[in-house]
């Protein structure tokens, strides 16, 4: 197990190197001119001044040197400076927003897991009934409906029309202690972010359970006279849960992408909103920095899934020995 974790963590820098190289190549071949983007609509900037900006940013140096510097800086954790944050380091910007995103993604992931498990088990237990049909229909709806559309409708219904929940931000600006995070503001974005994942997990748990329920050991448990509830929860569910955990790791990555849209709608000040602002203002260093961080999270998520898989399934553990 330790060997697996170490080996995977050792590959991580290689993956990051590959991604950093790809992004470098992309920025090189793209016609995007950072100096022009920085100067923006101001047309009274002389060519000489532009050359000075390019020099200050090191764009006048030869290609291999720039690439070496980019990789060298990355290795030291320096991802460059953000344009929209007034030249602050990208790493600091990302770190300052990470907390809000962790709260949002963590909450959504918890909802996905608990919701998927509860409704998946219930739908499997009451298979073929109206309840099962209702759960499945809701799930199909949620997998096809774009999350940001559902977010807009939820924002209208619960914040504007009914006024039950605040419409955006992380806290009430009128409150005296406006700096803190208000749980009320987290509810809507968290629930909306979790909906797509919840639907996939529910359908997944239901279908896996129904497959396991057809296996011999379940039949045997029933023949012993064990009640249906115990059969479902003690004999079928543990087996159905094994593939379930591997989805957690991969789903983490999906949630991170979802935050960009959801945080834009609800004005939640996390990494998603930062990505949105960076993209709209063409702040390439910041977008690249967030992309690299996202890549680390995806790799760690997959590693977590593999570890959990081995912890939960002795067969896999034995087979790999």
């Amino acid at each position: 197990m330790l060997k697996l974790i170490l080996r995977r963590l050792a590959v991580l820098p290689l993956i990051l190197l590959a991604v950093a190289t790809v992004t470098f190549v992309l920025t090189e071949i793209s016609p995007f001119d950072p100096v022009e983007a920085y100067v923006g609509a101001e047309n009274n900037v002389s060519p000489q001044r532009k050359a000075e900006i390019a020099h200050a940013w090191g764009f006048d140096q030869p290609l291999p040197e720039r690439f070496g510097r980019w990789i060298g800086n990355l290795a030291q954790g320096d991802m460059g400076n953000s344009v929209i944050a007034g030249g602050q380091p990208v790493a600091a910007e990302i770190a300052s927003r990470a907390g809000a995103s962790i709260a949002l993604v963590g909450g959504a992931l918890a909802l996905v897991l608990v919701g998927g498990l509860v409704f998946g088990v219930l739908a499997a237990a009451f298979r073929g009934t109206f309840f099962d049909w209702l759960v499945r229909t809701m799930c199909y709806f949620n997998t096809a409906a774009p999350s940001f559309w559902v977010g807009l409708l939820a924002l209208y219904l619960f914040s504007i029309e009914l006024g039950w929940l605040p419409a955006g931000g992380s806290s009430d600006p009128r409150a005296i202690e406006a700096a803190g995070v208000d749980f009320e503001h987290l509810i809507l974005p968290m629930v909306v972010l979790s909906l797509t994942g919840y639907a996939w997990f529910t359908l997944f748990v239901r279908n896996t359970l129904l497959e396991v329920l057809r296996e011999d050991h379940v039949q045997f448990a029933r023949a012993q006279g064990i009640g249906e509830v115990a059969v479902l929860l003690r004999y079928a569910l543990p087996n159905a849960l094994i593939p379930f955990v591997t989805l957690v790791g991969t789903h983490l990555a999906e949630l991170i992408g979802g935050t960009i849209l959801i945080e834009k709608i609800f004005g939640w000040p996390g990494l998603g909103l930062l990505t949105f602002n960076a993209a709209v203002n063409e702040d390439i260093p910041l977008i690249v920095g967030i992309t690299l961080c996202g890549c680390v999270l995806v790799v760690l998520g997959n590693l977590l899934a593999d570890v959990l898989y081995r912890v939960m399934d002795p067969r896999v553990r034995e087979a790999l020995r």
């Binding site: 590959a18 995007f32 409708l153 977008i287 996202g294 890549c295 790799v299």
Partner: protein
């Protein structure tokens, strides 16, 4: 299945005939009719500058579906190419190409796509950049499928027989590999289209896709968020419904096709 096909057909025909069914100009501003709710004159209401929403949604659907289909084609073409190179060359080329595919697969679609859109918008324009971003983020799963299919078909006896009979590489590829790949690739294309619709509308919703005045489903949704506070719920509702219906019908058809092709085959696409 028939219902899904019918509804999808209607959507596509409506999108294709947008100019005929909805002859009004989708960018015509009418400041006397700002934010009117759905009525007989304006079936889906009007937006914040008085443009007829039904017209805009129809035109937007045409734009969004076209971009989505082209982008899905690009993704499928690229994925097939990568998978074919890995699957036919084998050995070290296979290893390198598939490791590269792993790296590409470890990117978040939306995040990496945003980087691509921002970088290539100046050269390709909004629509072109969105297509490129979707094409370059949705190919890894397809490359894996194509490689796997090729690996398995190469071991079949009829390939050895064909090689023994003196068939050239070109003939092998055209007569045996390609027909074997077509169903899987075709299905993957259909399954990619709803994703492409979603991504196109997401980029436009973030204001990164098409120019704001042009009708696309994502752009209208973006207008929709601004109008929500003024009570204009219909502007957000209808374009989203169009996406939902398109995604659901395409999904149903793809599901039917998949069961028809591989009764016991589980989707390898990350859906």
């Amino acid at each position: 299945m028939r219902v899904a096909a019918g509804v999808l057909g209607l959507l596509v025909v409506a999108a294709l005939l947008a100019n005929v069914i909805a002859p009004l100009d989708d960018t015509a501003v009418d400041l006397d009719r700002v934010l009117n709710g759905p009525s007989a004159a304006h079936l889906m209401g009007t937006d914040e500058v008085g443009r007829d929403l039904a017209t805009r949604v129809l035109h937007g659907m045409r734009v969004s579906l076209t971009i989505a289909v082209l982008a899905a084609l690009a993704a499928v073409a690229f994925g097939t190419l990568v998978g074919a190179v890995a699957g036919t060359m084998g050995g070290r080329v296979d290893t390198v190409v598939m490791r590269f595919t792993d790296v590409a697969a470890s990117q978040n679609h939306l995040l990496f796509g945003i980087l691509l859109v921002v970088l290539f918008r100046p050269a390709l324009g909004g629509a072109g950049a969105v297509m490129l971003a979707i094409g370059l983020t949705h190919w890894p799963s397809l490359a894996r499928i194509v490689r796997g299919e090729l690996m398995s078909v190469r071991e079949r006896p009829f390939i050895s027989a064909s090689v023994g009979g003196g068939a050239s590489r070109w003939r092998l590829a055209r007569r045996h590999y390609l027909p074997h790949l077509m169903p899987a690739v075709g299905l993957a294309f259909v399954l990619t289209v709803p994703h492409a619709i979603f991504h196109e509308s997401a980029y436009s919703f973030l204001g990164l896709g098409l120019p704001a005045h042009q009708a696309s489903l994502g752009n209208i949704l973006n207008d929709g968020q601004r109008s929500l506070l003024a009570g204009g719920w219909w502007i957000a509702l209808f374009p989203g419904l169009a996406i939902l219906v398109a995604a659901m019908t395409i999904g149903t058809l793809a599901e039917y096709w998949r069961e028809h092709l591989h009764p016991r085959w589980r989707s390898e696409l990350e859906l």
